[in-house]
């Protein structure tokens, strides 16, 4: 395995991809959104129950590449039980790291740091995070919306 390949596809990422945390749609979610990347066809759903500004339950489903799926799993792990304001802060820290603008985050999320050298794939990694942000903005709007219509990724640009 080449050094560079192992920098992107680290064991942490491959493990999250193989056995993702929080996989599934949360029943009776208070917040939900679908994310879609029209360039590669990746689809993500993020659903959550939020009570008193705190995540009580958080889940995702994905038809996507390994990087997107692992990133969603890492997000689940990092934000379970977190408060909304903490979550928002974490999302923006993560995005800054991927864009090569911020400090490296501790924990499994750090495994994605190498992505700053691969902007073409940054979209895959950011899709779950963008979808979460959309869910927080929307409340529960995803039900009934065909996947792909809430195209979060259009904001990601090329």
């Amino acid at each position: 395995m080449s050094e560079r390949a192992s920098a992107i596809y680290q064991a942490v990422i491959l493990n999250h991809n193989r056995s993702p945390k929080g996989y599934g749609v949360v029943p009776l979610a208070t917040h939900e959104a679908d994310g879609f990347n029209p360039i590669c066809g990746d689809k993500v759903n993020v659903s959550a129950i939020i009570v008193k500004d705190k995540f009580v339950n958080l889940g995702f489903t994905a038809q996507s590449c390994a990087l997107c799926r692992a990133s969603a799993s890492v997000m689940m792990e990092a934000l379970a039980d977190s408060t909304l304001s903490r979550a928002e802060e974490f999302v923006s820290q993560f995005e800054n790291m991927i864009r090569g603008k911020g400090v490296v985050i501790k924990g499994d999320a750090a495994a994605f740091e190498a992505m700053r050298d691969y902007p073409a794939r940054a979209k895959c990694v950011l899709l779950p995070w963008r979808t979460l942000t959309e869910a927080l903005k929307n409340g529960s709007t995803a039900s009934g919306v065909p996947p792909g219509l809430t195209s979060v990724s259009t904001e990601l640009g090329e």
Partner: protein, 414 residues
């Protein structure tokens, strides 16, 4: 015998030397370029022709009497002659220079087909079209109320020819089909398709974007009504392409863009359009690209020749098919023959983008995704594949690098 061949056999080492990009290192590795379906690499003679135009005599065309302008005009028009010979068109005026395949299809849809269809009429395409040969017809459908009919594709990725024929009816007003599928590399039986269209008196167009770098085209013997392609898939620059149309059609087609260069005379009361093909070429075109396209064509016809190209590419096709058989869990979509060496692959359960990235890290450039043919991939139940597309400058080493890269990907995801 041509510049890069002897007794019909390609001298691949010499040929690779005239493609400067091939000597580039990619992420510390030798470049294995397997994305010619997206765009081909450019040989020195194309690069130099473009450079020469800018360096030695930038000038506009068809205006001005000074030497630079005359030179530019003559080099620009020499491309039209080269295209005419390349396609074996009967008349140079049948060659309209466009910005590419997409522009050509849109022009025909708006200028030729639109006035010929009404509610209830049908336009026939196939299930293996590039989005460029789907969306313009959907736009026309929404505007005119005509119907878009799609001929199905068989399990092996080839066109269901008998279904195609039976879908040509009294309601069919136009047929537009891809010649070689950009996603699968499968070659359509174009002669048979034209024959079916002619028997029903329906005009037919071919999207030859993928065909022109692999197959000799003879529009007179084929007898198609229109044919379009892009220069950048024929070793030429981006931003230039060709619409071939039969003279009798082009003459009655109204221009879609008005401006300079497409008129005979202009007054505020009345403008008289220029003749074919100038009436379709309003405004200053990409002159350098047109000159480059001429060189791309001369590269194919003078330096190589289609016998050499076909022999080399069929050798690559057979060798790659054999080598890919040994990769576990690899599925190839579109196995039908005849085809050119384009492989749409699915590697186990691994997403195409992960495969693409790991290959890229080995210096292997492939395309991942839907290849602008979403309906075709949907027909096979997948959102994305990994596409390796070979061209004349690829060799056995490239096949090895691809197979090795696929094996590495499998190891990583084991």
């Amino acid at each position: 015998m041509s510049r890069f061949s002897r007794n019909g056999k390609l001298n691949i080492e010499e040929l690779r030397k005239v493609f400067p990009v091939l000597s580039r290192q990619i992420r510390g590795k030798k470049l294995t370029y397997l994305d010619s379906g997206a765009t081909t690499l450019k040989p020195l003679r194309v690069i130099e022709a473009v450079d020469h135009y800018y360096r030695n005599g930038t000038a506009n065309i068809h205006r001005g009497v000074h030497l630079l302008s005359e030179e530019a005009t003559s080099r620009y028009e020499s491309t039209r002659t080269a295209v005419k010979d390349f396609l074996n068109a009967g008349d140079e005026r049948e060659i309209v220079l466009t910005s590419g395949t997409t522009a050509g299809i849109n022009l025909v849809a708006k200028s030729f087909v639109k006035s010929r269809v009404k509610t209830g009429d049908e336009i026939l395409i196939t299930a293996m079209e590039h989005h460029a040969n789907i969306v313009p017809w959907q736009m026309l459908r929404d505007e005119t109320g005509c119907k878009l009919v799609v001929a199905p594709v068989l399990e092996d990725g080839s066109l269901d020819v008998s279904a195609f024929k039976s879908l040509i009816t009294g309601r069919t007003k136009f047929i537009s089909c891809v010649w070689i599928s950009n996603a699968f590399g499968v070659i359509n039986p174009v002669k048979e398709m034209v024959h079916a269209a002619k028997s029903a008196g329906v005009p037919i167009m071919f999207d030859a974007a993928q065909a022109v770098a692999h197959e000799a085209v003879d529009v007179q013997s084929l007898d198609c009504d229109f044919l379009v392609f892009s220069g950048h898939k024929l070793f030429g620059p981006t931003g230039v392409g060709v619409l071939y149309g039969k003279m009798k059609h082009l003459e009655v087609m109204p221009p879609q863009m008005g401006g300079g260069d497409m008129i005979k005379s202009v007054s505020f009361e009345k403008t008289i359009y220029a003749d074919v093909p100038a009436k379709f070429e309003a405004g200053t075109p990409d002159i350098a690209a047109v000159i480059g396209l001429g060189e791309g064509i001369r590269f194919v016809t003078e330096d190589l020749g289609f016998d050499v190209i076909r022999a080399h590419e069929q050798e690559l096709l057979v060798a790659a098919e054999l080598a890919l058989q040994d990769v576990p869990d690899l599925k190839i979509l579109g196995t039908a023959h005849p085809k050119v060496p384009i492989f749409s692959m699915i590697l186990g359960k691994i997403h195409a983008h992960d495969v693409g990235t790991i290959l890229d890290l080995q210096g292997v450039a492939v395309r991942t995704g839907h290849h602008c043919a979403q309906p075709l991939l949907a027909r096979f139940g997948v959102p994305a594949t990994v596409r390796a597309s070979f061209s004349i400058y690829n060799d056995q080493e490239d096949i090895k690098a691809l197979v090795q890269g696929l094996r590495k990907t499998l190891e990583m995801f084991a």
